[in-house]
Assembly symmetry: D5
Homo-oligomer: 98 residues x 10
């Protein structure tokens, strides 16, 4: 099942820049693990914001929760998980796009 | 450039069912054209609603507008076009996912 | 997987009362079929409104969409499908409640 | 009478992790007491968030308030209590589901 | 148990004025019945609007739903039922006010 | 003239518990004074929240402001004052309820 | 007591223009009566909209309701009545402005 | 003074297409007059919607209202007029851009 | 040109009371200067809140910004400036009210 | 492609004024660089707020993100990037305005 995951990160401006850099690197590493595990399929930045949309594929919402809440920046995140149903016109289903 | 397109269709319940079926078929045909033209990459239904999220790829917002407003059901649609920027952790950019 | 389904029905007041009664009866019948098929587990009315919360269990969002959009009153409905993940303190998981 | 209780926990990221773990354990214990007392019937996590939906059964809103405000994490919670009325199609009322 | 009931009436301006007057009179009669039955305790108009706040007392949300949905103007109403818990400083509980 | 006053208290969780208890007691005392002065007629807790609805009677909005802003917890409050007009079906006006 | 009254008029575009002109003239006449009766003190148009802000002075919310609901266009209006309290820095109270 | 004008057009889908085309042509003509009169400086379409943002320059809000309400499609518009103040870093003020 | 200015002050409860009193006095002084300069015409408190509506008269939005941002409490303010256009029924334009 | 960029700056009132002045100057310098690079075309202040609307021109959303997130005050900003499509009545396209 696919999910659209909308993440907004709220990082208090004055916070220790070293902690921020360290967490950011951990976040990149964990994010790539989720990609290799086939959970995170695509990831786009929302321009102008520390925010993103991600396309996740997981057996159910519990698996998505475990994946998202495993991200190092999760405590600074506001997350909305939107369930996606199949569409008869989905280019992938029609074999038109990967 | 990629865009996330959120469409909500409002179809007055009592409207002529034949018109609805005719338009729905036209919509399917036009949707597949947009897929073959490489504009619409993915399409997911929002469960419970006559609504969907679409992933579009187009040179700019003017091209996205022309594509979306060419859909037969456009007059019954409420559409939000969300611009997407590249993310360093995008599994496609990393070569991990198609 | 479980889903919380929030339904708001908007019925134009002047509409033909016989049509309304007929649809309402069909809705009751279809609702009971969804219950017997194990899709709809619980259903509560939101007091003061023609609206309800339902607890659904289905393999994925596509199945929930098919169930909800099969309801005769669906064209008059505004529906939000909220995905539910398991909680470590869920009385059912703990064997405390059915 | 049944109530749907929507809880959102806001935990300041930098707060002392030991306090967090201690409170979290207390929260689990208190949550199970509410389940054994028959107040909390079901509990689901909202994926991606430190948030949940709970199904409560209590004589009235005063009893729900006392139950929810007795949770150790209550000071960090934003809570909405939604009253639920009986629905003629409720699978439990119809004897179809527990 | 007490409930705060917020009602907004949406009456299409061009609708038959005789129907409106007839319904309005029925509404007044039914409203007084609910008052005599001890369900509706107070009723205030929200200035500038065809809307009101009502203080209801009923065993549970199901009873409130039955009362409110029995009002002739209910099909034209948008209703929010807010559950009320007892407050230690309630002048009535303290015997200071009726 | 009557007013419906909706109060939401935001108390930072880590704040000194003794200060909180002291203020809470002062709040109870001041609240009872407002009741005895005939300004606050009824007070209900919104279940699950540190929030309440109050029914106030005062000559005008200036008097309501002076009453509400005299509460010790006012600096931690978000307050909405809703003006109430008389309703022809008000059980009190009809002599049906106190 | 003073009130800020925010009015939004929703006029269905296709409606009979003669009815519109007739109502508009009645509205102007009634509006001037409210001004001469000292109820409406100032009236400003919200640019781009068929909407306005009005400064009303009336003994209470019931009087404001009677004034506003007497306007011929009231059935097409969405109205918010905001109660105003005196401010120590009000130029009129200070005698600096009329 | 400059204003940002956000326009959303709501055109009932079934409405007479000839009327629509006629109004649309009138709208184009009137829009160009406003441009030649120096009132409308720039106009952008919001992709996916029958909506636009316009940059207007006018002596005050009354002039903007007269300009916008003179557009043939005005009865079908929902308009927000946002006042703009000068910014010290405005490329035009700095002579960097036209 | 006239503007309606809606100000909400957010003052962190624990902040130094002396600083608050000092700023409050400065605010009163500066507010009266704006009144004498003819910029601020009227000022009303929104009951229950540290908030107000002000009627300003200024050549344009830049002048309003300079006036409002000169207030000592501006860093603690959330401000909305609403442009006002003339209304044909404005009692002042009609000579009925000052 | 053009973008409308809405920026709201949230600066905690008590923060070190020297840091604020230093950042503000850096912001002015960086803003002018973006203007000279042809990315930022116009910039307007939203009156009463530390906020602005900017007109940006960039190849895509990724370039806009890099420009906006390079601003020194970015960590204190809440930013919305609105994509703009061409409008047939754009005075610039028609050669009527620069």
């Amino acid at each position: 099942m696919e999910f659209l995951v909308h993440v907004e990160v709220t990082w208090p401006p004055g916070t220790d820049p070293e902690l921020k850099e360290e967490l950011f690197q951990q976040e990149l590493r964990r994010g790539r693990e989720l990609a290799r595990e086939g959970l995170c399929k695509r990831l786009w930045r929302i321009p102008g914001r520390w925010a993103n949309y991600g396309l996740y594929e997981a057996p159910d919402a519990t698996a998505v929760h475990e994946a998202v809440s495993s991200l190092p920046l999760w405590p600074w995140m506001d997350v909305e998980v939107i369930p996606l149903a199949e569409h008869p016109n989905d280019p992938r289903k029609l074999g038109i796009a990967p």
